[in-house]
Structures are given as C-alpha cells and as structure tokens.
C-alpha cells in the first residue's frame, strides 16, 4: 500500500484554502463598542474522486457591546449574519448530505447571540 498516492496528495493540497483573509473594523462610541468582521475563504476541493469545487465564500460577523455599568457588560452579536453556506455538491447528495464535508467554511448557518458579563 502506498500511503501517499496521487489522490492523497491532491487532498493534502486542496482540502484547505491556499488563501484565507480576515478583515475586522472596530469602533468605540463611549459606552458602546461595535465591530464588523469579514472572513474570506478561497476556493477549495472536496475529497473523493469527484473532486467537486467548493467556491470561495466570505462570512460576515457583527457584534455590539454596551457597558451598562461599571460591573455589567452586555453584548449582542451575530456570526455569519447573512446565513452563508458553501455551494452544494453531488458527492453525498443521495445519502442526504448536500454540502461538502471537507470545507472550513462550515455549514451551520447563521447565529445570533446575547452575552452578559458581570465583573466585580
């Protein structure tokens, strides 16, 4: 058995993006903090023989923070605010899996969250 065959090399080189970028902006308005962040993933390929292309995606995150008092901080944020998914692929469609399994983009979808922090 050859542990490093041609498809193994292809997967090693193409399962993860060659370029990945993260750009974030932060602004303070007195008791408020706001930030927006863009995470970019370059095109990759799913494993298995079909080698389907996973297109590039940019995920946008937002968060707002409010210092309610000296001890209490409230945070409202959203991850992947536009509910972005990778493109659907055929490899496992018949098994019920529409998304590529070898993508760091993730296929969880968007999330909003609320946090309260109390510091004494």
């Amino acid at each position: 058995m050859n542990p490093v065959n041609e498809s193994g090399i292809f997967n090693l080189e193409n399962n993860l993006p060659k370029n990945r970028a993260s750009l974030s902006l932060e602004r303070n308005f007195g008791k408020f903090d706001a930030s927006v962040r863009a995470n970019y993933f370059e095109t990759t390929f799913d494993e298995r023989s079909q080698r389907e292309e996973i297109e590039a995606r940019t995920l946008i995150d937002l968060d707002f923070s409010y210092q309610a008092s000296e001890t209490v901080q409230l945070i409202l944020g959203a991850l992947n605010v536009f509910d972005t998914y990778p493109n659907e692929v055929e490899t496992r469609a018949s098994q019920g899996m529409p998304f590529p399994r070898r993508t760091p983009i993730g296929y969880s979808g968007g999330q909003v969250y609320f946090k309260a922090i109390y510091k004494l």
């Binding site: 060659k18 990945r20 995470n39 760091p104 909003v112 946090k115 109390y118």
Partner: protein
C-alpha cells in the same frame, strides 16, 4: 528578563509585561486589556498576534475553536460529521496538520488528546493533536499566536506555529459570564446553545492567590442534511415510523 507591572487607571486595572534587555534597554512591551495597541507585535522579528480578553469576550465562544477561527486569519477548522474528529476538531494553522501547531498553556506544553485522527481533511489523517476545544473561554486572559514555523526553537510540533493560551490570574474579585445563542439557518430548526462561566480569585496569604473557574456549555446537534435516499425509498414503499432525516449529518 521579564518584569510585571500593575497600574491603576480610573479603577480599570490593566496589566503590563515589560521585557528588558541585559543592558536595561527596553525591548518589548505587551499590554493586555487595552485596545490602544495594534494586535500584531510589530517590532518582533516573527509575526505574533496578541488577542486580548476584550476580543475573546465579545465572541460567542460555545467552543473556543469558533473564536480562534473568527480571529486568526490563517487558522481553519473543518466541521466533521463522524468519528472522534467530530469532537476533537481538525484545526489547522497555515494549512498544516493539527499536531504541527504547538499548543501552550501559560507558556508550557499542553498535553495531546487521546485521539489519533484517521478522518477529516487530508492533512488531519494520522495526526495526534492537543484538543484546543476543551479550553474554557472564561479562563483566558489572552492568546498569543506565532504565525510562523518555530521548530528550531520549540521542536517539531511547532512547524506550523505556536499558540500560547495565557490564563487569568486574578487574586481578588469575581466574574460571571452567561451566553445564549440561536441558530437561524434557512430550512433548518432553530437550535439554541448556551453557556455559563464563573471565575473567582482569592488571596492566599500575602504571597499567593487561588483562582477558581468553572464553565458549563451546551452545544446542540446541528443537523444540516436531508433525508437519505434509501430511507426515502422505504417511506415511499409505505412503511411508517422512519425518522426524517434517518441519517444525521451534523455540523458542530
């Protein structure tokens, strides 16, 4: 030589680490707990990111991997739907295997997980990495990331880089964090995750302290698949009681 200095400014205690050369010349100052300094340590010969507690706190860190993924550009984490790698996530710095990133806790090596991965993005196969996902986010004061190979200095587990998780070391006071998150993906159920964390510091005589922390997190099953074709065929043939979806494709 490293000197630690505490200073009090408008009751907001901040923390300074000052590195001094042998001839007493200032070589590097790392300030934790402020955003007035750029994240990247510019004067260093190697690329270092210093992620402070403010940036960590503002994330939904149901799992610290999620936070790292959002904040560190060269860091990736591939969701997995099966095998132990669904729990010890295959993470990567600069596209290299998980066990080629040196994970330090308070500048000391973190032990590896018990999982030898044989599944996941190709670079994960055969790798035996530390489980970063088990580090509670409430424990963290800051994270230093060396985004470059440092194998000559640290050994062969630092080929992709080094991540140093610095823990909180408060000698007094209390902190409580609560968090609730709602997933709203199209076509899917709206799952909820939540987390509660506490951090307490007590002085222990004049020369020491005890810092106790605990965290409880619940992350739901995020089923993102459709019905399996074979299960659909069973339903179509008139058999009742088949779950939908019969086979779960879960993203965590």
């Amino acid at each position: 030589m490293v000197k630690d200095v505490f200073f009090d400014f408008n009751n907001n205690t901040s923390y300074l680490t000052i590195m001094v050369n042998d001839d007493n010349a200032l070589s590097e100052v790392v300030i934790t707990g402020t955003r007035s300094k750029p994240r990247t340590v510019l004067q260093s010969a190697v690329p270092i990111d210093n992620i402070g507690v403010k940036a960590i706190e503002r994330q939904n860190n149901g799992d610290i991997v999620q936070t790292l993924k959002a904040l560190i550009p060269s860091y990736t984490s591939t969701p997995l739907t099966g095998d132990g790698s669904a729990f010890v996530k295959p993470t990567s710095l600069r596209g290299l295997p998980p066990d080629e990133v040196l994970i330090l806790m308070n500048s000391k090596r973190r032990h590896r997980s018990s999982l030898i991965a044989h599944f996941g993005a190709a670079m994960n196969a055969g790798s035996h990495a530390a489980d970063v996902g088990h580090i509670p986010s409430i424990a963290l004061k800051n994270i230093e990331v060396l985004r470059d190979g440092a194998a000559a200095q640290y050994g062969s587990d630092a080929i992709a880089g080094v991540m140093n998780f610095i823990l909180k070391d408060v000698s007094s006071g209390a902190e409580v964090q609560t968090q609730v998150g709602k997933w709203y993906g199209r076509n899917y159920g709206s799952e909820t995750d939540y987390k509660v964390g506490m951090n307490f510091g007590f002085p222990l005589t004049e020369n020491g302290f005890i810092n106790i922390r605990a965290e409880y997190a619940f992350n739901p099953k995020l089923a993102r698949g459709n019905q399996h074709a074979a299960a659909q065929a069973v339903i179509d043939s008139g058999i009742e009681g088949v779950a939908n979806p019969a086979m779960n494709w879960v993203s965590i």
